[in-house]
Subunit: 370 residues, 2 copies
Amino acid sequence: MAVSFKEIYRDKSSGARTGELSTPHGMVKTPIFMPVGTQATIKAMTPQEVHQVGGRLVLSNTYHLYLRPGQDIVAEAGGLHGFMNWQGPILTDSGGFQVFSLGPLRKIDEDGVMFRSHIDGSEHYFSPEKSIEIQEALGADIIMAFDECAPYPCTHEYARQAVDRTTRWAGRCLAAKTRPDQALFGIIQGGEYRDLREKSTAELLAMNFPGYAIGGLSVGEPKDIMYRVLDYTIPLIPADKPRYLMGVGSPDCLLEGVARGVDMFDCVLPTRIARNGTVFVSSGKLVVRNAEFARDFRPLEDGCQCYTCQNYSRAYIRHLIKADEILGVRLTTIHNLHFILNLMKNIRKAIEQNEFIQFKDDFLSRYHFK
Amino acid sequence: MAVSFKEIYRDKSSGARTGELSTPHGMVKTPIFMPVGTQATIKAMTPQEVHQVGGRLVLSNTYHLYLRPGQDIVAEAGGLHGFMNWQGPILTDSGGFQVFSLGPLRKIDEDGVMFRSHIDGSEHYFSPEKSIEIQEALGADIIMAFDECAPYPCTHEYARQAVDRTTRWAGRCLAAKTRPDQALFGIIQGGEYRDLREKSTAELLAMNFPGYAIGGLSVGEPKDIMYRVLDYTIPLIPADKPRYLMGVGSPDCLLEGVARGVDMFDCVLPTRIARNGTVFVSSGKLVVRNAEFARDFRPLEDGCQCYTCQNYSRAYIRHLIKADEILGVRLTTIHNLHFILNLMKNIRKAIEQNEFIQFKDDFLSRYHFK
């Protein structure tokens, strides 16, 4: 088995749990947040820096790497691990979410999806088989089934058709898969409809994937809908399978996801807002590019142990961001990834000390949303 | 004395020499190349990385820091050292070169220069006194006199007037200076005219600066003109004063400058070409963004000890540069600064082993210019 999962500790008063996810490139502790390296690099970071801020499992995007540099070049470099110099485990998505997000630039049929490159407008076709072929060339430890991610909102009928197609395509992905050293995860769809989530889960469980993602969330729906879907979907997944909530990375959603039994998360949020000059602090978000910080010589957050906060002031970081200096983006990215990965570390600790609900309530009482 | 210089070893068959330049923030060995941190950051690098690639003395720009964030903010942060978190010595230029380079955006009179900001078009005025006031607020170890840098080509009459003004302004800079912990260097002008270089040097020597820069070179003139000016100017400067050739950083010019007795250099070239995807290798320049490197899995240079070459391939770096990823620029910048700073280290070693001319000839016989 390329990847195996073991539940270690289950919280007494919520669905939260810790676990160990073993992969060909090492074991990682869950719940885990996966920094996103869309183009085979976590933006602005070296792999060593990603590891230093606590990153252990990173995600990369099949759609982007297929278009540039092409999966054949990555394969020649020894796969993604060799190409990007990351020694730990890697997960690639299937490209499904990206091509479905292209809107008018894509056309779906039963076999797959025709789409146009966002880089040069050239025409391409992804099918379940093609997605697996690319992901096998990229060589991640965990690869994802090619699914149809329905938008929000969508009708029950549309969502049902997407579930049916996702099930058929999941079967084709399983059949196409050849590498024994990679684990293929299924993706549960069904939008906001409980009967469809149950149907999708049952159909995918029948195929016995080594892990399950919950897809089609964090696509614009209110958070309470996301939480409700998790409430009734996650208990359907056997405890010995890891559960991955795709595209989620804000601190409140991480805590609520963990409380409902999610083991894995990924999101571009921490790195993306960093590049706009916004950072996470325990009281919420701080827009360090704002004028109010021009003469603020405190660190982004007092007591923070990250490299940025140990060495630089808000005033300096604001100057760098305003002056379009790369170091500014590096420093905010380091801080934000450290913040999220440190949160996950504290979550794991709280679970194993039976203090998770207290920890979550404390965190959320301090954290103000804007 | 804020800064002192000691000649350590003089080459037997050229003007090359090694020396020690002592500053309030430590001693550095010469000949030295100073990485440029225009906006209080060496572009794409942390201070630790600059030190790791061999940077010991860095330059920052008065014009840019005056406009953004403003010298008062830097002063409040404890000066440039505190603001940018650089513990070693720093040199600031006077802003003269930048405002004279603004062309139609500036107007010169005897008192100083009116100019418009390249950021927002606002009107500003630099005089010798203003330049010193700003540089004292920035707090570098070495500050530069506010001079008039004549363009190339220019008439003898124009160059003479610029020398006269540079001498008068140098006197005003000396009179305006108040901080005993900073050393003020004079700047020799005179364009390509020997009599004017001799006049400028004599007038500035009479003021007994602790160091002398040769300005007005590397402004578009052929290299043989630059070398000739150095040939007859440098011998006029007493051996106990450091000699700084401003704005020069290509490997051949560094070697030729050292051969003529230059102790200090600065240039944006290594970091600027890095951001365009061009790197130095022992055979010349390599444009790693070119298509020919798409499947080249060798390091930028075999045997290079820099972080980039120890960990990444040309193919990966090309991918990052093509995909506009920050890590690409980081990796090329690290390599280029390492290349130049390692060259300076080898130059110092060669001088002290009496092998400088051999080293220079060997290097230049391998290095092909384009």
